[in-house]
């Protein structure tokens, strides 16, 4: 190959993970250095994930892009993103391919993954099994880092993350923290969401998150990665469904969630979703997931909260409310609510203990990823608002399959942006 495609955020193994957020990449001639130039066309050539391109940072990207590469090796920038609603199913099923213009052959290509959080109900068997294997490894029968996640979310720590305006930002960070932990085991994994206002019969099976037997014990297929699940020093789980498995849970619909507080609703009204559908999704079951202090014992927790986070992300996109300084995008916290103000760092990643914070801070700083610099080791509440970096800052390197990248109305396409840091 004589054209090298370089995409920032490449991990030490040379792998690239994209979302819907455009990333500023480069192409360069890597053949013998001569004067002149080569015209190439970039296109998506994978079997699964789709890619789109542009010369500028835009939300109107193109299936192909013509570039002229100087043959002296000078890098030529372009923007690349996952094609909305064409996520990958496995690493390498998305390919950016360069062909010489005018019917020439392939002169360069790079395999990537469009890594997107999907509806758990629609995951393929291999996607599901990779996810479960990573979750099982993280739990390691009670000996793995899942214990840190368990200890972050208890009755003793609840004021850091519930009953106040920081509920959604804190849980966005929490799900992302877990996702990065899973990706350190298998980078092709993203946390799927349980869309609780729709039936999800494929999720509550012995092959996936477990089937509840008549007594409420969760049972798995023999050899399943979660079969030996241990939390709080106790093997196994109970989970009793208070709804028919072929029906939605006892929650309000997505449309009604968006309608909380009326059509012009601001965050202060939207926050009511903490009670319904969030609280009601938890209490659509018996068992640990139905109580704050024990909910994380059930790994379903993270799929439930991925959906809560998806609803917020979708609401933010739909109403253009990714700017935390926008009075409708957030609501001020009471002065005494440390950890809920925009500029407050969030526990436990900030390591602050004692006084009004919990006595210990499990898990350490927020884990880094090669893909982006956000949100940094000690994220603040305000760092969790712009998942896809639509306002130009670094994205969080996660995305939902139904929440697109769309620039704010005030920004003109090509209006800059840092891309991944």
């Amino acid at each position: 190959m004589t054209v090298q495609i370089e995409i920032p955020g490449t991990d030490p193994q040379g792998r690239v993970f994209l979302t819907w957020a455009p990333v500023r990449a480069t192409a360069r001639w890597d053949g013998a250095s001569t004067s002149g130039s080569l015209d190439i066309v970039l296109r998506s050539a994978g079997t699964g994930g789709g890619l789109v391109f542009n010369n500028v940072r835009s939300d109107q990207n193109l299936p192909t892009l013509n570039l002229t590469l100087p043959t002296d090796g000078t890098k030529v920038p372009f923007w690349i993103a996952g094609e909305f609603q064409k996520p990958s199913a496995a690493y390498g099923d998305a390919v950016v391919q360069a062909t010489a213009n005018g019917g020439g052959g392939v002169v360069g290509s790079k395999s990537v993954m469009v890594r997107i959080r999907k509806n758990a109900q629609t995951l393929s068997g291999p996607e599901r099994d990779r996810l479960l294997a990573a979750v099982g490894t993280l739990n390691a029968q009670g000996q793995g880092a899942y214990r840190d996640f368990r200890e972050m979310h208890t009755n003793a720590t609840t004021r850091e993350m519930h009953g106040n305006v920081g509920f959604l930002p804190w849980h966005r960070a929490y799900v992302l923290d877990l996702e990065r932990a899973l990706q350190s085991i298998d980078p092709s994994v993203a946390v799927p969401y349980w869309r609780f206002d729709e039936p999800a019969p494929s999720l509550f099976t012995r092959d996936f998150i477990g089937e509840s037997d008549p007594s409420g014990e969760v049972v798995f297929r023999p050899g399943h990665a979660l079969e030996h699940w241990v939390t709080d020093g106790q093997p196994g789980l109970t989970r009793e469904l208070d709804f028919d498995v072929n029906s939605p849970a006892n929650v309000i619909s997505e449309a009604d969630t968006f309608g909380l507080g009326g059509s012009g609703s601001a965050y202060a009204s939207f926050m009511a979703m903490e009670g319904d559908p969030h609280g009601t999704a938890h209490t659509s079951f018996g068992g640990p997931i139905s109580r704050i202090g024990t909910a994380v014992r059930d790994p379903l927790f993270f799929m439930l909260h991925a959906n809560v986070d998806r609803l917020w992300a979708k609401w933010q996109w739909f109403k253009h409310r990714q700017n935390p300084q926008d009075s409708k995008a957030f609501a001020p916290a009471n002065p005494n609510k440390i950890g809920h103000h925009l500029a407050d760092t969030m526990w436990p990643w900030n390591g602050i203990t004692g006084n009004t914070r919990p006595p210990v801070a499990p898990g350490g700083p927020f884990p880094p990823t090669p893909v982006t610099s956000a949100p940094g080791p000690t994220p603040k509440v305000e760092d969790m608002f712009d998942m896809l970096g639509v306002r130009g800052g670094p994205p969080l390197a996660c995305a939902y399959d139904d929440v697109p990248f769309e620039l704010p109305p005030a920004l003109v396409a090509g209006g800059g942006g840092a891309g991944p840091g």
Binding site: Q143, G144, A145, R147, D148, E151, T154, N155, A156, T158, R159, G233, N334, N336, T353, T356, P358, P359, V360, P362, G363
Partner: protein, 374 residues
């Protein structure tokens, strides 16, 4: 005197405590019943043990709190999570003749900690009942104690007012009325110019060990499975040794102790002292806390294991270690039912010289005491 043990029915223990309350010189006997090692707790569940302790603690409201019981009250206010025992500690404060100033911030901390786990409690019966007229709550008792302290708690006035002004309120209307009463009682005082000479955090003290036990020969295993004797590890350099178990339910105790042990290790490193000291902890629950569990528990709390920094378990029963160091711990049928905080400094011969007990210890105090050892 009635022989009380862990198998004595709760009702009989309660009757015994009630008789003691009526006796004029019963204070110290009741204090003796608060010690975790007391046989009245042997084999009981944590719930039973905590209720018994709470029941004994409330005695001091009426008979007066002996000085020797103060540490137990401080411990509950500082680390207690159970509404029953925290309420009992709040009531016991009202038996203090001259309450020290440092109780005020401890009571404010207790309010903050118990606000999200308050519950109805009743001290007329040892066993909980549904409903009933003589019920109260931990928050109610804490604010009533502030009202009892009156002007002596004037330092708490801004915090109490802030609690009342929170919107939305984090207190029920009934508790809010108690706050109003507390503020009214406290506000008639003037800011105190007297400062207590005593800190509430654990201070070093000396102690005797049980001489019939050969501690040096006790077999230990560390977080990596390595086997050695107590003497082999602890002799040769001074050590900071604390105790914990991984199933501890109170994050203010074991989890915090091991986290602080990690910070202590970090400070010895920063000050270039790490080669001079061992930093270690032994689990109360050796049958359950196998090496793998110790390793993960320590690593998750910032301990950096090396040949001087280890988490340990006894290969046999823990009992000889408990008796040798007179540790405040007792057991139910499966695991620990209650324990206090214990940190012990050993000299380079492995002999105990100083202990920090019951109240939270500060890293700087322990480090200072360690430096004085070497």
């Amino acid at each position: 005197m009635l022989e009380i043990s862990g198998v004595t029915p709760l009702a009989d223990v309660v009757a015994y405590v009630d008789r003691l309350r009526a006796s004029p010189d019963a204070g110290e006997i009741l204090v003796g019943l608060l010690a975790e090692q007391s046989p009245i707790y042997d084999g009981r569940s944590t719930n039973e043990a905590e209720r018994l302790r709470g029941y004994v603690l409330t005695s001091f409201e009426n008979i007066g709190l002996p000085a020797s019981a103060m540490a137990f009250v401080i411990e509950e206010l500082e680390t207690g999570l159970n509404a029953y025992t925290v309420a009992a500690a709040a009531k016991a404060v009202r038996g203090i003749h001259d309450p020290p100033e440092h109780l005020v911030p401890l009571m404010l901390e207790a309010i903050d900690r118990i606000a999200s786990s308050d519950d109805v409690v009743c001290f007329e019966h040892i066993l909980p009942r549904a409903g009933g007229a003589a019920t109260t709550t931990a928050l109610t008792e804490l604010f009533r104690t502030f009202a009892w302290l009156g002007p002596r708690a004037v330092a708490a006035l801004p915090a109490l007012k802030a609690m009342l002004e929170r919107n939305p309120s984090t207190f029920s209307p009934a508790v809010a009325r108690e706050i109003e009463k507390a503020i009214a009682a406290v506000a008639i005082g003037q800011p105190s110019t007297h400062h207590s000479c005593c800190a509430h955090n654990a201070q070093p003290s000396s102690f005797l060990t049980s001489s019939d036990i050969d501690i040096g020969s006790i077999a230990l295993q560390d977080q990596d499975g390595e086997l050695f004797s107590f003497g082999e590890f602890f002799r040769g350099r001074p050590s900071a040794l604390t105790f914990f178990y991984t199933r501890c339910m109170n994050p203010n105790k074991c989890s915090l102790s091991i986290t602080k042990l990690g910070r202590l290790q970090q400070r010895t490193r920063e000050e270039g002292l790490d080669a001079r000291f061992n930093v270690a902890a032994i689990t109360y629950d050796p049958a359950f806390d196998i090496s793998q569990r110790l390793r993960i528990y320590g690593a998750n709390r910032g301990l950096l294991f090396d040949d001087r920094t280890r988490l340990l378990r006894t290969m046999g029963p823990f009992d000889p270690v408990q008796r040798y160091f007179d540790l405040g711990v007792n057991y139910g049928s499966t695991t620990v039912n209650q324990h206090r905080i214990d940190l012990i400094l050993l000299d380079s011969c492995g002999s105990p010289s100083t202990r920090f007990t019951r109240a939270q210890w500060e890293e700087k105090d322990v480090l200072a005491a360690m430096n004085s050892l070497s």
